[in-house]
Symmetry: C2
Subunit: 131 residues, 2 copies
Amino acid sequence: VGYRKGANAERELMRLLWSKGAAVVRSAGSGNSYSPDVVAIINGRAVAFECKAWSKDVLFVRHEQYEKMVEWSERANTPVFIAWKYPREGWFFIPLAYLEPKEKHYGIRLDDVKRLSTNLDVILGKQGVLF
Amino acid sequence: VGYRKGANAERELMRLLWSKGAAVVRSAGSGNSYSPDVVAIINGRAVAFECKAWSKDVLFVRHEQYEKMVEWSERANTPVFIAWKYPREGWFFIPLAYLEPKEKHYGIRLDDVKRLSTNLDVILGKQGVLF
């Protein structure tokens, strides 16, 4: 994923979160410390998003990056979601913990992501979980 | 304040917040939407900081920027603090609401900031207010 494509996806996610009433910060992504790409804050609580604009059927995160995400999430006591933008299908949101550890990376399949994706209004606490 | 000086102050504040156990995001500051320079998240709650590295005895914020800060703070339901780094005196933290409206800007004097500055541990909820 090129820088521009990633940055465009982040800006699109920011607009989406803003449209739902959240305040938003996009990370400057300074090299020496990890932080998620986009953080939304609403009702005083934060939710973080790592953006992926991928057109493959599996999403990977390197072990090292995954561990930094977990550390950040634990420090913040805030959920970190993978926000996967799939071409012509829109956004899917899954908690970091749904990724499965493999030998070289953590990964999740697109069909699992589609099945398990959480509604953004639920993530932002604007709506209870519906069964 | 030059870009580099401001960015260095932001990074220093990030390190300070990280050293106190918070997760941190530095804003990419994309042109079309406002967000505070640095957001700390700890125990699931966010606190935002607008960094100022000023060596004058009064701090100013333009009306337009002040109003964007207030909007962001209200959306997030999260306090926004002015983090003023004064040369050789360190950091002072004051809530946005302490700035006084003047004709052309909101402002606060350094001596008032010194008197009213809030302890960072208190801001981060690590410590109750001490009298």
